[in-house]
Subunit: 271 residues, 2 copies
Amino acid sequence: MEKQSYTYKYPRPAVTTDCVVFGFDGRDLKILLIERGIEPFKGCWAFPGGFLQMDETAEQGALRELKEETGLDLRYIKQVGAFSDVNRDPRSRVITIAFYALARKSAVQGGDDAARAQWFALNDIPHLAFDHDYILRKTMDKLRHDIHFEPIGFGLLDEQFTIPELQRLYEAILGVHFDRRNFHKKMLQTGILEEVDDFEEAPPSYFGDRREMRSMDIGALFGGMMASEPKASYAARDDDSRSTRRWGTKFRFNKKRYDEFKEDNNFKLEF
Amino acid sequence: MEKQSYTYKYPRPAVTTDCVVFGFDGRDLKILLIERGIEPFKGCWAFPGGFLQMDETAEQGALRELKEETGLDLRYIKQVGAFSDVNRDPRSRVITIAFYALARKSAVQGGDDAARAQWFALNDIPHLAFDHDYILRKTMDKLRHDIHFEPIGFGLLDEQFTIPELQRLYEAILGVHFDRRNFHKKMLQTGILEEVDDFEEAPPSYFGDRREMRSMDIGALFGGMMASEPKASYAARDDDSRSTRRWGTKFRFNKKRYDEFKEDNNFKLEF
DNA sequence: GCAAAAGTGTTTCGTTTACACCCATGC
DNA sequence: GCATGGGTGTAAACGAAACACTTTTGC
């Protein structure tokens, strides 16, 4: 790699990206941090991130850095905003564009590929490098706000989850407690959840079709109206010796229903 | 003018700011645009904005450019976000940080200091330079969202305003129609408005024809939409001793009450 | 006098909240 | 069988939506 340099007529700030990665282990909301190996703030913890390259958007840059530094290969991030305080980096003028991302439970529990990446529970965050404390506050504000309007929670759970798991997540993010029954009711009322058969690791093709069908039926039922009972008959089905569980019902997020729901509500939805 | 240059080890994108300035003339929501005098997009309309300087935050830069280009001296802007598409500027890699700002009615009607600045009604926006069409869409989305949670409307009206004026503004922003009585009630019960004595410096007929304008405008606007019911008319009884106006009650935004209200509602308020 | 806008109160309806019981599971 | 957590129904309270009449002002 030969040494190059780039010259401009006017001074330019450097531009970096930072990514606040949220994870949820079933109890606490967590954040993925990197221990800095170089000055400034060597030894401090910071968000994964780095300098933006010329051929990538900020989103792409944030995802690339995230992968490089933590091994996490995510798809979806959401911009929090640009942070441009003049002295936020002691070396020189650096503007950062911050994002947040959601990692599924399995990613949180699966080890960290990167040596110096580590998950921290939200109430146990160390003092962070640069203005990352401030960025974190702003990002939390945004997450707490966003979760009321976008199906964010589902990005933090595995594809299949139970309503109580979802509730614990909401409570962890918002720091409040919901009534079990009302939460359950409200979530189902939106119609954006579809029930999933209990078979966690069903043989692919044989049960695959069947699960698909059943999901559609349930979806249609909920979409219709909730006046009375989703008393879906658990009739003759499922005599399986090991899975006679009548609770622990798994659901999954149905994007199609969500989009419809959004339109029906003129894009003003609330969770 | 001496020629200088700045050299960096790695390439850097240029960073600009852009400011979407909203105004409201009593009828339409408007946006302040600048006609570009140079390439690229010479002759096209664009948001006021320009290159960020090294000693100012993005907010400061946006306000500075706004003042330089339009004469508007505002205080408060809100960040929309960074736009970083690789090819959004045909010249080179330029990232922009976009903001929106709110200008009071009087600023809208007061002429534009800058030769090439002009207000455009929202439904009459020309095709804009760069990705400003896209930025505008995103900014509108954000404004429509924000107005439910922050006392944005008041920044677009003069310090004193009537409830119907406020309602027209909300309707212009959100593109919906509210019931007069419910709107009135809801706004008052938030407690963040305080009534202003009628006799306070009513700036006389300088803007006298504004009322006329307004009536006409409203008539035209509602011509097809007034679904129901101003029923019978009643004879005017002029036995009232004082012919002081019994309507046209002015209110003003009470920031202190607003802050209290916000706390009472745990910062989750809705308008 | 007439048209158009502003101000006000009540009823209806739907949503949210509060709350109790029974069933599965694991120890 | 006991503790823990999951699943469901229902009534009360609250807030939002629908809705009519009266007065002021300008012409």
